[in-house]
């Protein structure tokens, strides 16, 4: 199927670029660990364990934001986006490729951040790991579209946190719920719902975001 081939080609391009430049991923990893250290000092001594669980999710949210901020910058600066839009493929493949690449970066950053969290604050259960996977999908799906929107304007990527955070609040709630409550199934189901609804919406509407 040539659609999937397009998506794979685009995602591969981003991953190769990152492999050579090594800019985004190390920043994300370091940022994640730095956030955890900051949280250690931000929490008072008698804070319950539930509080630190919530802070893990804040860290994930901001690491994702960092990765997404860089997502379309290269395309904008080198005017690659115009070329991609002119290419004879479905425009939504651009979105899917970008979301997949960002997902890979985010997963790699979390592969360091989550063990660091376990080291600093204590263990995480299976529910948290499933929630992280589901949340990543949602954040990258929505974030890739919002990054494309933000980069089209004058304020560029500075606009992205404003656009991203209100939409990320439900993901945060789902994630924190999975981590700190005794009944994570509801929250995991909610994350899956969020992913489904917004991924479909983003997939359908991306074309309108990049065409003039």
């Amino acid at each position: 199927m040539s659609y999937l081939a397009d998506v794979a080609a685009l995602a591969r391009k981003d991953l190769l670029l990152e492999l050579r430049a090594k800019e985004t991923l190390p920043s994300m990893v370091l940022f994640g660990v730095a956030m955890l250290v900051v949280f250690r000092f931000a929490l008072p001594a008698d804070a319950p364990e539930r509080a630190s669980g919530g802070l893990l999710w804040v860290a994930i949210l901001f690491v994702a934001l960092l990765g997404l901020t860089r997502a379309f910058v290269a395309e904008r600066e080198q005017h690659v986006l115009d070329a991609l839009v002119l290419a004879p493929s479905d425009r939504s493949a651009i979105w899917l490729g970008k979301a997949a690449a960002t997902l890979a970066f985010l997963a790699a950053a979390e592969a360091v951040a989550v063990p660091a969290y376990v080291l600093f604050f204590g263990g995480v259960g299976w529910a948290t790991l499933v929630a992280v996977a589901l949340a990543d999908i949602g954040l990258c799906a929505v974030g890739a579209l919002l990054a494309a929107m933000a980069v089209s304007g004058r304020a560029r990527e500075l606009l992205l946190p404003l656009l991203f955070l209100p939409l990320a609040i439900p993901v945060l709630i789902g994630g924190v719920g999975s981590t700190v409550t005794d009944d994570p199934a509801r929250y995991l189901a909610f994350l899956a719902l969020y992913d489904g609804v917004f991924a479909i919406l983003a997939w359908a509407s991306f074309e309108y975001v990049v065409t003039e």
Partner: protein, 211 residues
């Protein structure tokens, strides 16, 4: 149009006659304002969808005006809700009120709508991106509501009863009157603002044509 606005205001004053405790009265404003805000956001998203379907430029201004009005009503919801919280529970803000928290999230979302719009250059691109964002907003409303309901278990114990007062016949009638009045007010403001913006755009076109 002035008549419609006048009728709307007259309707809004009706509840002063119903015998309530004074603090209860804000309910008649707060909920209709909230419902009107939802309606405006929904209308804005619908117009956005029409824009994406048909590509007609006029839908952009209609969508923008609707979202603008929705944001104003949303802000009013937050303000009246805050007043209600103060009179009912003694605090200016209550995280326990789902409606208020939902509106706070929507407020953030739609303020970002304007920041997005101002950052983009005028044209078809801006119209399209605004339309997509408005659609995201209207999908966010139920998703956020669900999320906030789930969040109550982890963030804040629900101390206060969230259900509106049980309404007797006369109260219900007054409420409906207020609701209709609020919708009429919103429709009037919408038509006014839209006409004003269209005139602005036309004026700008004429100026550019002259130079």
């Amino acid at each position: 149009m002035v008549l419609v606005a006048g009728a709307a205001l007259a309707l809004l004053w009706a509840p002063e006659d119903a015998d309530q405790g004074p603090s209860q009265r804000i309910f008649y404003f707060h909920v209709p304002i909230a419902l009107t805000a939802y309606a405006c956001f929904g209308w804005g998203a619908w117009k956005g969808l029409r824009l994406l379907w048909t590509g007609e430029e006029r839908h952009d201004l209609e969508s923008y005006t609707a979202v603008h009005l929705g944001t104003i009503f949303g802000t009013l919801t937050l303000v009246t809700g805050s007043i209600w919280a103060r009179t009912s529970w003694g605090q200016w803000w209550s995280w326990g009120s789902r409606q208020l928290v939902l509106f706070l999230v929507l407020f953030l979302f739609y303020c970002a709508y304007f920041m997005l719009r101002y950052s983009l250059a005028d044209g078809a691109g801006r119209a399209r991106i605004s339309a997509v964002y408005a659609l995201f907003g209207v999908v966010l409303i139920p998703v956020s509501f669900l999320a906030i309901r789930l969040a109550e278990d982890i963030v804040h114990p629900v101390v206060f009863d969230q259900d509106g007062p049980q309404m007797s016949g006369s109260m219900f009638f007054t409420f409906c009157l207020c609701l209709v009045g609020m919708f009429l007010l919103a429709a009037t403001l919408y038509a006014n603002e839209l006409t004003g913006k269209r005139l602005d755009a036309r004026l700008r076109e004429l100026r550019e044509a002259l130079t």
